[in-house]
């Protein structure tokens, strides 16, 4: 198939050719970025928490700490909760992740640092490892002697100190690269700045929220606190029994006092789903937009090419009169569209990177990986070919007799 006649014809219809090239370029640039952004959101929603997501229920209670001895109230609550059939483990803690609250602490590895080594999310509670379903990768879980009473620790002029800490693998690698973190000391929560000893490393525990950015999302630590009185409870059970256990737990907690208010109760997977609501909406929005954009682009190309074909009936007629078959006429237009689309896609790729750079600077986005470019290219090639098919077929119906009509 000769390219030269096609190019020559394009040169004489520069504006229309340029329009198609630009339409395809803009479409390609936006689609590549849109697909990438959808991918980013989905990646974010699939971040591993390190927990047994499907097995956990969280219940937040208000009006808990009113009264003379909140510690013993919590102890009673936990004893009751643990006796519910189906409950594998229960704890009172400061928060589960993604629940709106976040406790963070800056971490030092020596006492005379001027800037903290990093900031980590802090989880306080009894037996969090088993209740949240974490995996101990190195060292051990907390034992009874490690635990410090929450109310006692917060009392004025206390001499209680937290001696042990469990950190995540990412945090261990960041603080002590290349070595085992077990036995090492970090400085964080003790009132006189005495150190905590790392007794265990968990594989992963996601931070409570996005504090610290995406690179710090795996920095979490567990402090051994008993009978935390913040009114936040977490239970572990079988995925199939979550509803019944949740109902039983609520009934139990409510019955303990008439002044209590159950603030929020849900399975942890619902908490996660709610947390990622905005990301889901954005992904949907981008998806719908992409479809609309491709529709508009294909309709635009369809309209323009239809008109273009009608402008060139004389040429088509002459070619047919000189012996071109219907199929050759069809192929001519398809090839012409393919060439234009290729130009458009090349420009579009450059545009895609340009848009990506703009987005990177203003929004937390990463560089567009090369992988997404072929996707945009193939989509636009297909769109172009679909749009040109109908007008091209109409072109084949031009009778050779047209060539001999008026000049």
């Amino acid at each position: 198939m000769e390219i030269y006649p096609i190019l020559a014809s394009l040169k004489r219809n520069k504006i229309q050719a340029l329009l198609i090239v630009l339409e395809i370029a803009l479409g390609c640039a936006i689609v590549s970025n849109a697909v990438f952004m959808i991918g980013q959101r989905m990646e974010r929603m699939n971040r591993p928490t390190g927990m047994a997501n499907e097995e956990i229920i969280r219940i937040n209670v208000g009006g808990l700490a009113e009264g003379s001895n909140p510690g013993s109230v919590v102890r009673q609550d936990l004893a009751n909760l643990r006796s519910i059939p189906g409950v594998k483990a229960a704890t009172s803690l400061n928060h589960v992740p993604m629940d709106g609250a976040s406790w963070d602490s800056s971490i030092n590895i020596s006492n005379d640092q001027t800037t903290p080594s990093l900031s980590a999310g802090v989880y306080l509670g009894e037996d969090i490892v088993n209740t949240l379903g974490l995996n101990i990768a190195e060292g051990r879980n907390f034992i009874a002697e490690d635990y410090v009473d929450w109310e006692g620790f917060n009392a004025q002029a206390t001499d209680l100190r937290i001696s042990s800490v469990i950190i995540t693998r990412e945090m261990a690698q960041r603080l002590f690269p290349g070595e085992s973190a077990i036995g090492k000391q970090i400085y964080s929560w003790n009132p006189d700045n005495s150190p905590h000893r790392v007794v265990g490393v968990v594989e992963r525990l996601i931070r409570p929220n996005d504090n610290g950015g995406s690179s710090a999302v795996g920095y979490s630590m567990l402090l051994p606190m008993k009978d935390v009185t913040m009114g936040r409870f977490a239970l572990r059970t079988d995925p199939g029994r979550r509803k019944e256990v949740e109902q039983a737990a609520i009934a139990l907690l409510e019955s303990a006092s008439s002044r209590r208010i159950i603030l929020q109760h849900a399975s942890f997977s619902d908490v996660m789903r709610d947390y990622y609501r905005k990301d889901r909406s954005m992904a949907w929005l981008l998806g719908v937009l992409m479809i609309l954009l491709l529709t508009v682009t294909s309709l635009g190309i369809f309209g323009l090419v239809s008109f273009w074909v009608s402008q060139r009936t004389k040429q088509i007629g002459i070619r047919r009169a000189l012996g071109a078959t219907r199929m050759q006429v069809l192929r001519y237009f398809q090839l012409e569209n393919f060439i234009l689309a290729t130009f458009g896609i090349v420009v579009g790729m450059i545009g895609a990177y340009g848009i990506n750079l703009l987005l990177m600077n203003h929004y937390e986005l990463e560089r567009l990986p090369m992988l997404y470019l072929p996707f945009g290219a193939i989509t636009l090639w297909i769109i172009g070919q679909l749009a040109v098919y109908s007008p091209a077929r109409r072109a084949t119906l031009v009778s050779p007799a047209v060539a001999t009509q008026s000049i």
Binding site: G27, T114, T158, I261, V296, L299, G300, I301, G303
Partner: protein
Amino acid sequence: MFRYYLSLALRSFRRNKPLVGLMILAISLGIGGSMTALTIFTVLSGDPIPQKSDRLFYPQLDPRPMNGYVPGGDPEDQMTRFDVEMLLRDRRGDRQAIMVGGSVSVESKGGDRPFIVTARYTTADFFAMFNTPFRHGAGWAIDDDEGRAQVAVISKTLNDKLFGGGNSVGKTLLVSDQSFRVLGVLDEWRPLPKFYDLTNDRFSEVEQVFIPFWTSQSLTLGIKGNMSCWGDVRSDPEGSRAVNAPCSWLQYWVELDSLEKVESYKQYLTSYSEQQHRAGRFERPTNVRLNGVMEWLDRKGVVPSDVRLQLWVAFGFLLVCLLNTVGLLMATFMRRSSEIGVRRALGASRGAIFTQFLIEAGAIGLIGGFAGLILAQFGVWIVRQQADSYASEVHLGASMLLTTFLLAISVSVIAGLLPAWRAMQVSPSLQLKMQ
């Protein structure tokens, strides 16, 4: 001539229904998407208190230790209790108030189970400073602040729920099991964003109950916000909320009615900071700021980045629609080359042809604008179904309506420039020959 061109345009629409339909579709989709995104953006980025935003200021100090100090960094977002109490005592502004968010259980006397509501613990000037509208009664006085009076101002919503919406001034309210006397009931008030406290949900309704700050602290009512501590808090029974605690957790706003007062307040902040430095409380070099309302909102990036991204995405889509409309307009106009030739031969100038087709493009834009408006209403409806706290406040106002049409007509006229120019180049003689 305008009416004549319009009638020519309408005639062409009738003859060219599919092409014109495609163009209207393209424009309405682009406009619908852009206007939806623009409406959301406008709701979230507007001035929450336009009648007063140029006179309200948010001061910042830096009380943190040298550990972690970065030269040229931002001062601390919130203030320590020591600092706000000192600033309030000095009363250097026309009005000033300490405030912090809270969470309390409330019930009316003899009512059913208590329920949890959001609260704000603040000082007397809050209400006059922010021009809060009152339905009944008024706020409390400075004496109530200092006397730790158990008084409260409640929101309209809470008043409706607990007291049936009547005049509840003087009635008793149980807040976390303590008796409070209602002094005032606020009318509908929803500054968007809730600029005075950016640590909690920035677009939610205002708090349900307002209580004097020192009252709330002596009763240790629950607080809600950000608490940032940099030292030992266990040496005081009040912990992180003690007067001398090394923790920042409070907001402080000041009203300054003239530029000179703004300047002198800035100097006051600087000399206060230096005084604290000399006393050994502040370790870092003086780093004070006095932010106006919009400046503060801008600094804290109040409009969620997703909303801004959606705006750009919508405008990108509009650009695609514009570009495709150019092609379709080109097709529509050039199809009528013989008609153009006849008009030119009959004496129409190039400019007349140009104008004719621009008006036709504008007419398409107008129709597209109508369709786009319907789509935008649909888009806004979808947004309101989302569970975002600001969803109920998103609606197409009069200015947005006007913007829709202006945008639609501008887009289609811009799209029509190239095709109209091409149309006016049509040589009459060539067209007449090819009958």
